[in-house]
Structure formats: C-alpha cells, structure tokens
Amino acid sequence: MTKRLDFGAVDRRTIVKAGAVAGLSQIAAPFIWSARAADAIKVGMVDPFTGVYAAVAQNELIGVKYAVEQINAKGGVLGRPIELLVEDSANDVGIGVQKTRKLIERDGIQFLIGDVNSAIALAIAQVSNEKKVLHIVSGGHTDGITGKDCHWNVYRVCNTTKMEANSVAELLFNKYGKKWHFITPDYAFGHTLQEAAQADLTKFGGTVTGNELTPLGTTDFSAYLIKARAANPDVLLVLPQGLDMVNCLKQIAQFGIEKQIHVAGLQQELESLEAMPPEARVGIWMFEWYWKQPGVPGVEKFVADIRKRTGGKVPTARTWFGYTSMMSYALVANQAKTLDGVTLAKALGNFELPADVKLQPNKCYYRAGDHQLMTSSFVGEALTKPAGDPEDLFKVDTIVAGDKTSPPESETGCTLQWPA
C-alpha cells in the first residue's frame, strides 16, 4: 500500500510530520505573541472576509482597526484599552451565527460590529439581541434592520435603500427625464431599492418602462440590455452591486448604450469603480461617503492616516462605516460612563457624531425612533478620467443630509421593544 507513494528516501510519515509542524507553527504563532491584557474591553467584528464581499469587508476592518488605535491612544474606554476580535462569517449565515455566539459566549465581547451581508446581519442581530449586546450594523443595507426587524440593541450606520433612492431620484427626474427602465438584482436589497425609486418616480409623475430582474451573480447582461434598449427609456437605472454592477456597466459601455440612454443608478462604491475599465465609469450615482471633501474638517487627516495603513489607497465609504461604528461605541461609553448594553443603547439615541468622526458637512446623528444613522448622501457623477488623483473617480455635486432623504420614523415600520 505504501509502495505506491514513492518519495524515494523520504517516506510519507516524514513529509506529513514536517508539513504538520510547518502548518502548526503558522497557526500557533499569533498565540505565542498575544499577551492578552487582563483588563481590556473586548469588542467583536463579524464580516465576510472571504467570498464575494471580501473587498468591502476588508475595508471596513481597516476603518475599525484605525478607530481602535485612535481610541486606545486617547486612553481607551473608561480607562481600559479596547481589544478587537475579528471573525470571518464567510458569507454563510450558519457560520456567522456560530462565530457571533463564540464571540459573545466564549470571548465575552461587550460590543458587536457586522455584517456586510444583510441576511447575516439580521441573523446575528437575533443573537446579539438575545444576549443583550450592543450591536452596530456597519454595512448591511436591507431596510428591515432599522425597520420592521429593528431591535433595541441594534443600530445601523449605512443608508437604507429608501434614503438612497430619495437622494438621487429628484435629480434624475429633473435632469434626465421621466421614463425610467430598471435593471434590478433579484434579492431583497434590489427589490426594496427599486420599489423606493419607483415610488419616487410615480410621485414626480414619471413612468417605468420596464424592470429587469437579474439573478445575483449574473455575468452576462446582454439579454436584459437588449430589452432595455428596445424599451427606449430616458434613464436606465443600474441597481446591481459589486461584480454584477461592474459587468453590467462594462457591457453597457461596450454596447455603446450610454450614447443613446442616460445611465444612472443609486448606490455606487469606490471598490466597484476601481474594478471597472475607464470607459465603464459613467452615470449619475450616490456614494454613502466620499474621500475628497475639500474644506470639511477632519477628512484630510483621516485620508492621510488611512493611506499610511493601506499602502497609499484612500478610505472608501466602507472604511468610514467601520471607523464610525467603532468610534460611536467608544464615544457613547465614555460619555455614559458605563458598559451596560441597555444604557448605552438608550444613550445612542439622538447621539450626534463630532466633526472628526462624521467627516461630512451636515449634521450626523442616530435617530432614536429607528436607530438609523442620519448620514448624508453624496450625489454626483462617475468620472471616466480620474480628476488628478488616480483614485478620484467621482465628482460630488451635492451632499444631501440624512434626515432629508430618510422617511420619518413613523413610516419605517420599526417598533422598539426595550427590555423591562
């Protein structure tokens, strides 16, 4: 039996043993150096660092880590340093739930950040709610998180789909026209985004010429684009995100569609723009945060500091989400002088972010009724040619305040039930 594996002088046992030692030393190394500070406050982050959202998750982590450094440099929270524990949800709900339980039950975290994937965010919110741990959803967009699925211990930094739609809709209607055609990714985020935009369009008096539902992971949009072309709209709204968006815009550029029809969309991200060839960077979009804000306090320092930590790359909206989530916890805990989850959750309601955290010109605060951060929308155009800096791929036209784009608390469907 062993004869088949002919390694010559070295037999398989030796190789396996050598491999095991090499592998184990890789894994064991971190444990050798970590002398865990006994009085540190543990905070946890669950995000999909592998899988399709890996790039944005990693940017969020950079923001969180930077925040931890800043916090600890200023004395930590209530005099104690913050220790960040990071777990990969691998874009799998079961693993996300398991890791969250691990962080809370075994590691005793006081605060949770995550997940980019809305489904996982909702699932781990159930766990954090059960365990009464303060939880900020940094990057999951589904409206339910601060809507019908809201919890007293959960806050959210990034925009809701309604906020995104409301920020751009009027501009598109006035500037481009009233006949809109949608390309919508076929999952909850896509549906709510499209419905919100359609509601706005109807309010202004426009019409929908069609809505192409594209399965997640569609690589070839040609069939949908053929139909969109045939429908002859004024505006083509491209709603898919990530790789789907990149492919769709590439194909739009290749087919020359942007020459006949105005291309636009709602949410856009720097990560996606950077993955596109230049000719695909067209259209009007909104960003949730943009790094080039001349004159706005704190932004330049943030950008410079992050650049040092990423080998020159600028922070994206995701970096800012992570940064804000972590800073919010430290600020509210230091202000309320406690670590109790319920107290902090109550204290975050109507909490306003200081200039060096909000990094935007408008007032930025957490709404008490639905726990949604009233953050601004940066509306503008994608740039085919970068404006100076190779990462300046978006021209910001207006920055709309969060409480102008967000529907009132009564309309979100959120009813908070606080523990007795």
Binding site: L5, R12, V93, G94, S118, A123
Partner: protein, 322 residues
C-alpha cells in the same frame, strides 16, 4: 472463540459508552478547551449529516455529491412550518424530514440506474437545481436573504418546559437526544438483513446481482433512507440557526459532508462524527486566526485524499492491525 467474541463486543460496548459519556458531558469539558456549547451543537448536527451521507457512501458504496440538497430541503421545511403554519418544534422537524426524504425518494428513482462518476455528476447537478430553486423562488424561500424569521419553540413536555430558544445548554441536550435517536435508527438498519445486503452490494455489485438481490431497489431504498436522515439533520440545522438559506443546498456544502465522512473513516460507523468534529473545530479555529483559512481547508482536503484515504479511524485501525 466465545472469549474472543466477548472481548470484541466488550470493547465495542466500552467505546460506545465512552462516546456517549463524552457527548453528554460536553457542555462541561468543552469550555475548558476553548470550546463553547454552540460549537458542540453545530458539531452534532453536521456530524449527523456526515453520518447520513456515509450511510450511502460508506455502507452501500454509492457516491452522492449533491446530498446537501436534502439537508437544505429539511431546513426549509422545518423553517416554513415554524414561520407560516404552527409554532411547534416537533412538527417542524417532522415536516422537514418528510419533505427532504420524499424529494429524495422521487429523485432517487430517476437516477438509480447510473453509477460511478456519472451518478456523482448527476447528483451534483440535481442538488444545484434545488439550490437554484431556493435562491430564485424568493417569494417563498426568501431567496438569497434566506427564510426568516422563525424561532425554535420551547418544548412543553407536560411536566416541564424546555426552553430551547434561550438556553444554549438545554438546546444542546435536545439536539443530543435527537442525534441519539437517529443514530440508533441507523445502527438498527445497518445491523438488519437489509444492512447486510447493502454491504454485499458495496463489496461486489455483480455478485450481489447474481445472487438474485434486486440491486436497484436496494440502492433506491438506501438512497431514500439516507435522504430522510439528511433532511432530519437539516431540520435540526434550521433550529440551530433560526434560519434557512440556500447555501445549505450548495454542492460545496455537500462536499464538506463527504469530506467529513472520508476524513473520519468511511468504513466505520462513528468515523463521520469524528470527521465532523475535526472539520468543524479545525474550520472554526483556523478561520479565527487567519483570513486565508480556505487555503488551509483546501490543503486538508488534499492531505486527507492523498495520505489518509481511509480516514482517521481507518488509519488507527491499520496501525492496530499491522
């Protein structure tokens, strides 16, 4: 001769008792090793799934690489009951098991004549069909966002109420009881004449056929039974997560289960459980330490296939035998 038999069965009994003791006492010794109760619950459920795959793979010799489909159907079945129909955990489990088992029975009848690589391909493809349905039929299944919300309901046992929703330890014991029931059923089947026939088919299908055994029928029954067990494990999984999502149906999930069975030892009864323990713990540990844990998992697969094809238990048995 009878002394030898007593020794062998005595050893087996001791092993069984040891395994059960370890499982029952898990919530106590796991935290000491850096584990946590929820990890144990997950290991039990995935271990059961691996054993269900092995029921077919190790004991009948049939390679189904799409078995996660039944796992996922079980999860969705259980979830849908809890979400739409009745707040009853036992009903959820029953519904999930039936849904997956019956689906498997129907499909099994269609593909039972194929073998080998082609059979594997077909099971992968059909598994993906179900994945795709779960993904696309979002009005019913929730699509990519998964089926939610539903919660496992506390059990009213007449004398007491077992709060399996909020009490992690209570839930662990509930899952353990379910696990033991399933495993006992499996062992019973394998010891029966039917089980012996399955082994005969695995060893030499042609000879079994010449002996007059209706091979296709037996394979179909074995396939269906393993689907029922798989769906049962899937229902439990839905309860663990309070969630059901398409990922549970994907062929990569199937691959994980087959890996656990192979890693632990395909030819042995408890092998897959051991494989599940190693796999889940390994994945849990490595993914906390490095972002590039997938490379390690990949290497683990390669290592096992090349050097430990008989799995851990097989490896140990070899050493003892040789």
């Amino acid at each position: 001769m009878s002394e030898l038999l007593n020794l062998e069965s005595g050893r087996k009994l001791a092993a069984l008792v040891a395994i059960l003791a370890a499982l029952v006492l898990a919530p106590f010794w796991m935290p000491l090793l850096g584990g946590y109760t929820a990890l144990g619950t997950r290991v039990l459920v995935l271990g059961l799934a691996a054993m269900s795959v092995n029921f077919l793979l190790g004991f009948t010799g049939v390679l189904s690489f799409g078995h996660a489909a039944w796992f996922g159907i079980g999860a969705y079945g259980c979830g849908m009951i809890l979400k739409f129909i009745a707040l009853s955990t036992p009903l959820g489990i029953l519904a999930g098991t039936l849904a997956g088992g019956l689906a498997g029975a129907v499909l099994g009848a269609l593909i039972v004549r194929r073998r080998g690589v082609y059979f594997a391909m077909v099971t992968i493809a059909f598994g993906q069909v179900f994945y795709y349905i779960a993904f696309q039929w979002s009005s019913v299944t929730g699509g990519d966002d998964g089926l939610r919300p539903f919660y496992r309901q506390p059990l009213h046992l007449g004398v007491a109420t077992l709060d399996i929703l909020n009490d992690a330890t209570a839930f662990y014991y509930f899952v353990l009881v379910c696990f033991v029931l399933a495993v006992a059923a499996m062992a019973f089947i394998l010891r029966s004449p039917f089980g012996r026939t399955m082994l005969a088919i695995r060893e030499n299908e042609r000879r079994a056929r010449f002996l007059g055994i209706p091979v296709e029928l037996h394979i179909w029954i074995a396939f269906t039974l393993s689907c029922f067990f798989m769906a049962y494990a899937g229902s439990l999984y839905a309860l663990v997560n309070n969630f059901a999502d398409p990922r549970g149906l994907h062929y990569s999930q199937s691959g994980d289960f087959v890996m656990m069975a192979v890693m632990g030892g395909m030819r042995s009864f408890w092998g897959p459980l051991l494989g599940a323990i190693v796999f889940v713990v390994f994945q849990d540990y490595v993914s906390s330490v490095t972002i590039n844990w997938q490379i390690f998992i990949g290497f683990l697969f390669v290592l096992v296939v090349l050097f430990f094809p008989r799995g851990l238990l097989g490896f140990l048995q070899q050493r003892r035998g040789a």
